[in-house]
């Protein structure tokens, strides 16, 4: 069992009409590992997150999580298995307080009781527990997305562009948080445009371009790979 990866994608493909969003993508993720997912706009990063979290179903290929095949498992059932995510544009429950947002996920998504206050403290929104989510800044909403995911006790957390629009000190705080979560054994797939940010938290990145995997390995090697350079600057 110990040799089995937490998440295994094997030949995952996803098409939208004539557009191939993911073209036979295969990779594994181990517990506690942080994997950066990078690539130009439209390269399939968010589609990959959507397929893994179950928002989309893959057209072909297989998806295994903790040894179980989950291709056909709907998103809400993947949550108690241990998969959760944040959204590129945060999607809090409007007209509900910060605490209620986290409490809903803790109640419906977790398999054991969750200390909601501890989650709120972790995402640094303890002082905002009774504030309506519509009154939060985008940065706070992003952390709330993360907190809602954490409330379901994930083993794998898919983080979609949490760094976009954050200033350097906010980025630092988020980076520390993600590293802390990984140290606790949570595997993370982090979609990010801010490469400095990725560099701080991981040395394993996967580069996607037009739905295909171009490169897998340390970030510093990626910048020396001619395929990757071509994809990013259009050579």
């Amino acid at each position: 069992m110990s040799s089995e990866p937490l998440l295994a994608l094997d030949g995952i493909a996803k098409r939208f009409g004539g557009l191939v969003a993911l073209d036979r993508v295969s990779f594994n993720v181990e517990p506690g590992e942080i994997v950066g997912l990078v690539g130009p706009n439209g390269s399939g990063k968010t589609t990959a997150i959507n397929v893994i979290s179950g928002i989309y179903q893959a057209d072909s290929g297989s998806l295994h999580f903790a040894g179980q095949r989950i291709d056909r498992v709907p998103a809400f059932r993947r949550v108690p298995l241990g998969i959760n995510r944040t959204f590129q544009v945060p999607k809090p429950f409007a007209d509900m307080t910060v605490r209620e947002n986290v409490a809903v996920a803790a109640y419906f998504g977790a398999h054991a009781p969750v200390d909601v206050d501890a989650v709120l403290a972790e995402i640094d929104l303890g002082d905002h527990a009774d504030v309506l989510t519509s009154q939060l800044t985008v940065n706070q909403q992003k952390r709330l997305d993360l907190g809602r995911a954490l409330a379901t006790q994930p083993k794998l957390l898919l983080v979609d562009e949490i760094g976009a629009g954050l200033n350097p000190s906010e980025l630092g705080v988020v980076a520390d948080l993600l590293v802390r979560l990984a140290a606790r054994g949570i595997a993370l797939i982090v979609v990010e445009h801010v490469l400095d940010f990725l560099n701080r938290i991981t040395n394993r990145v996967i580069v996607l371009s037009a739905g295909r995997m171009l490169f897998e390995g340390p970030l510093e090697d990626a910048s020396r790979n001619s395929d990757v350079v071509a994809a990013f600057i259009g050579g």
């Binding site: 979290s53 179950g54 928002i55 709907p74 998103a75 809400f76 059932r77 949550v79 108690p80 959760n84 995510r85 959204f87 999607k91 809090p92 429950f93 409007a94 007209d95 509900m96 209620e100 409490a103 809903v104 996920a105 109640y107 419906f108 998504g109 977790a110 809602r148 995911a149 409330a151 379901t152």
Partner: protein, 302 residues
Amino acid sequence: MRAAVITLAVIGATFLIAPHVYGNRTLLFSMMTFIVLAQGLNLLYGFTGYLPFGYVGFFGTGAYTTSLLVLHTHLPVLLCVVAGGAGACIIALVLGPLLRLSGAYFSIANLAASQILYNVVSNQDLSKITGGPYGLKIDQVYDPTASYYTMLAILLLATGLAAYFRISRFGMALRAMNADPTSAAMAGIDVVRTRLIVWLISAGIAGLAGGAYAWNLSVFYPDAVFTLQISVFAIVFALFGGVGTVVGPVIGAIVLYALYNGVGISAPQYFEFIYGFLIVVLVLFLPNGLMSLLARRGIRVL
């Protein structure tokens, strides 16, 4: 929880005492019917955002299921009324795929479904089974008192369900789904199943009401239980009081139905005018209903 108990007690006491101080029982019964329909519609629209224009279809289904069972079986009437609710649930289950539609598409498809039901039931060729355009007669079980208390029980049930939706964990899931279905799924909520449950409950309430209504009338034409006016009344009453609340639809139905009886019967032309005016005012100034007036002043309403 206390607010819910008080609300139910007040409604119950009101309609228990009302027949002893006010002679027009038929009016009281109709008023209760419309409160139930406004509340039943509120269960779906107020808590999931699906507006069923064809809500009357479930009411009619209940009326016919109950009446046909009374005519062809020897079951107690009360059981036939319960079966009316079950019949409406079955129709709702068949129409379940409509929930894949959203917004106006759902409303219109549901409206069409209710018209199909009406046309089937009132079809001349089915006269031997459904009574066709001549309707049904179940006057052998006519009992205005028992049907009155049955409708009151249904009213308390519908209102109790609204309170449950408002204060329970289930209700919390509904609010989350309403705000963002995708996020709700990632919070572990089975959005499709939860929506279907609410849809069945809402349809069941209309079916029960239809059954009790048929029992109270004991003779009716298909138009009486399938007219679109019933849907429109339920929608307007619920919106006027405030959807997504427990007391809103009750207050809305009482106020507007009283108005309808005060002005509408004696001077229908003025009623249409006042009604139209009210709807315009409502949409422009009070889109969240009467209850939002209280909420704006910081008064928490159930």
